[in-house]
């Protein structure tokens, strides 16, 4: 036992001595970063439509904008059944690769009518977001990320949102160089790549099963 440990403190040892000058007391400064603990998440439950429905929710870009596409997909559970009471939210860059946000260090998106955020309930198990195909986005280290959309999935039976990304099948070259896709197996990558359709792209989301979508911890 250290000679600095107070004999006046019951069970004192080098780790809990509370005299002035120890890390626990008296210096006036914290010995680690002071952080407030965050509020824990909870499920949206079955009635999310009451609070989270917007008339223009699906419109990440204003209707009628040149180049608009629909990003669609079905959300399925571990039985392969559709999830008809969930919600998908999307967040993405504009075709120039810029975000409609002041923290984009290159300047906010200048694409008229572009919000970059879509919110779609999944009636019948399907989400649908009206948007523009995003451009490539810097990866922050001198390289590029392939065009992508971040998705959050919320539903009864999910105690927190789950996060995934949509990439585009017709961007093979950019996808091959993407730092996120590069870290995944071929089979994992396939769960994130949307295929072209008549009016845009489609990516189905599998919450579980052999084709379980790759979800990300952010």
């Amino acid at each position: 036992m250290s000679e600095h440990v107070s004999p006046l403190v019951r069970d004192a040892d080098g780790t809990n001595d509370r005299r002035p000058g120890t890390p626990r007391r008296g210096s006036g400064f914290l010995d680690g970063p002071h952080r407030l603990p965050t509020t824990p998440s909870a499920t949206v439950g079955p009635y999310l439509a009451i609070g989270l429905t917007w008339p223009d929710g699906a419109d990440a870009v204003a209707p009628g904008t040149t180049g608009e596409i629909w990003l669609r997909g079905t959300v399925r559970d571990g039985n392969g059944d559709v999830v008809p009471d969930g919600m998908v939210e999307s967040w993405q860059a504009d075709p120039a690769g810029r975000f409609a946000h002041p923290d984009d260090p290159r300047g906010s998106s200048s694409t008229a009518g572009f919000r970059g955020f879509g919110r779609s309930a999944t009636p019948g198990g399907e989400y649908a977001i009206r948007t523009l195909k995003p451009g490539a986005v810097p990866d922050g280290e001198g390289g590029w990320q392939a065009p992508h959309v971040d998705l959050s999935v919320f539903a009864r039976g999910l105690l927190d949102r789950v996060v995934t990304r949509v990439y585009f099948a017709d961007e093979a070259e950019a996808n091959a160089a993407d730092p996120v896709l590069s870290g995944l197996t071929e089979q994992q990558r396939a769960t994130l790549v949307a295929r072209p359709t008549d009016d845009g792209y489609r990516l189905d989301i599998h919450l579980q099963g052999a084709d379980e979508t790759v979800f990300f911890a952010v």
């Binding site: 079955p46 923290d103 260090p105 986005v137 001198g142 789950v162």
Partner: protein
């Protein structure tokens, strides 16, 4: 707060990193006693996604999402909702203790009898013609929000025999980054139904109190409404690289 800086050397960006709570203090996606998680919560371990531009930005939503009267849920369709009138208020902060101004807060809840105005909710409690259960506000410059509503009732559900949800208000929040997004539920103090509720008990024990509002006599309005305070903490941004060379010298 932006914390975002461009060093200008060929596209290298110094971006903030939003701190994530340890897994032991976060609600897990799956919890076996909450049976619906069984077929819906993903089974594979999520892949770590470093925070890049897409994750450190997020939708800018404000007053255009809010209609007059959205902060007072007790007046709908020309009349007063039934039930115990309450004020629910607090601050939205990040984990560094900074207020989050301009944050959209969306709430939804059951009526005083525990019934939601939703086609799927058909348990035999009365609907209230003057209550739709929807509220929205944007936090002020100090991160404060306030709703006037009625205390929601408990309601039964099919999770297990004699299962009842404790009274709760659903909250949905946007900070300023994709990583800060959270949807959660606020509970009322000392609810006897906590012990049997798997959604409440899915929260790790040490974090459960953060989901429970506090009765506030000072904010209780005489002859009008009870006050309940609930502060909400979103993830904060870690230090930028420019703040790390602290030599411990304090002037």
């Amino acid at each position: 707060m932006t914390g975002t800086t461009s060093s200008g050397d060929g596209g290298r960006l110094a971006l903030p990193r939003y701190v994530r709570e340890d897994a032991g203090a976060r609600t897990p996606v799956a919890f076996p006693d909450y049976r619906s998680t069984g077929l819906r919560a993903p089974l594979r371990t999520p892949v770590d996604l470093p925070h890049r531009l897409t994750e450190i930005t997020g939708p800018v939503l404000g007053e255009d999402r809010v209609a007059p009267g959205d902060a007072d849920l007790t007046l709908r369709a020309g009349g007063e909702a039934q039930g115990q009138r309450i004020n629910v208020f607090g601050r939205v902060l990040d984990s560094d203790g900074r207020p989050v101004p301009g944050a959209l807060v969306e709430v939804w809840q059951a009526n005083a009898a525990g019934r939601y105005r939703h086609v799927v909710d058909n348990w035999p409690a009365p609907l209230d013609p003057h209550f739709d259960g929807l509220g929205r506000v944007v936090t002020d410059e100090l991160g404060r929000y306030e709703f006037t509503t009625i205390k929601p009732g408990a309601y039964p559900w099919g999770n297990h025999h004699n299962a009842w949800r404790p009274a709760h208000i659903h909250f949905s929040l946007f900070g300023r980054a994709f990583t800060q997004r959270v949807v959660t539920q606020m509970y009322f103090p000392d609810d006897p139904l906590f012990g049997q509720d798997p959604i409440f008990n899915a929260i790790p024990p040490a974090a459960r109190h953060r989901a429970v509002a506090t009765f506030d006599l000072d904010r209780t309005q005489p002859d009008w409404a009870l006050g309940f305070r609930w502060d909400i903490v979103l993830r904060g941004a870690d230090q930028t690289p420019f703040e790390t060379d602290d030599d411990g010298d304090v002037a």
